[in-house]
């Protein structure tokens, strides 16, 4: 069983992602909004991005495509990428 599957809504995915960000990156809950930019606003670097992908893999049971992830700029983009992956 995984925490996120194809029936998970985008709102629920966002709350999972918030949880990962708070746990891993010491970020404040209210800073993590859909249009927050990962690099500029949240100071997520490329090493964090790798850790984020590992955390997401645990929650979804699916491997995220690093190339698709390169296009990701905001928190909302992450939510969309995860959502798209699961409904495929």
């Amino acid at each position: 069983m995984t925490e996120i599957d194809s029936s998970t809504t985008k709102e629920e995915i966002l709350s999972h992602i918030k949880h990962i960000f708070i746990e891993n990156f010491d970020l404040e809950d209210d800073a993590i909004v859909a249009d927050a930019k990962l690099y500029d606003d949240l100071d997520i670097d490329s090493i964090d991005a790798v850790d984020l992908m590992v955390a997401l893999k645990k929650k979804t049971g699916r491997k995220l495509d690093p190339d698709a992830f390169k296009q990701v700029r905001t928190v909302g983009d992450v939510v969309d990428a995860v959502h798209d992956l699961l409904i495929q």
Binding site: N24, F25, D26, D45, S46, I47, D48, V50, D51
Partner: protein, 250 residues
Amino acid sequence: MATGLSFSVFGAGALVISLTLFPAIHLASFDRRRANLGCQYVVHLSFRFFIWMMKSLGILSYEIVDAEKLARDTGNLIIANHPTLLDVVFIISMLPRTLCVVKKAAWSNPFLAGVMWATGYIQSDDPLQLIAECVQSIEQENNLLIFPEATRTVPGQPLKLKRGAASVIVESQKLFIPLVITCEPSTLTKAEKWFEIPSRKMHFKITVGDKVDPQPLLTEDAGRSKSNRRVNEVIRELFSMGIERHERSG
């Protein structure tokens, strides 16, 4: 005038050595690593000469506080702030065998490409590979120099550090030596063109800090990303305090 001369000597020297001494060293040794070490030593001597030349020409003066803490051993991880173009020249002139992390562009700079290939300096391109290579090089007892700012300090802006250096510390769990550099008056920084030289002689002050053990910052429960942030914050504080102390003591 003298500064223009210095730049020319630097560029020409790098080119000539890249075309003669470096290939000779690599041809003469069967082992690539040994050849790298030989070339690092050549860079060290060249930089010592270069600093001596600039001092003799009256372009700069410098003081190095607690230089003995860099005791000529190996396996030091040196984390320095990066105000000017000459920082790397000073640091390598103090240490015979040092690897640096250098941005990828240097490999395609005609003056520097030869140095990059010959010495085995580490490219800061792919972050994960970078960290792996840095950790490996420390374990092989190289001295390793990283500027966490990645590029020269933007004067007047708060210090902003990339967490690559912190990641290397977290991953290797090795002690590191913080090194604080300041230059008065401001010159060769990001904000000035290289030929905009102050009329006053520039004075460099470099303080070698005590080794810092990252162990207390690395707790089991904190993941890698959290540990990186903690270590990064410690480095930032060490730099800020060191720079402030330099400025106060004049």
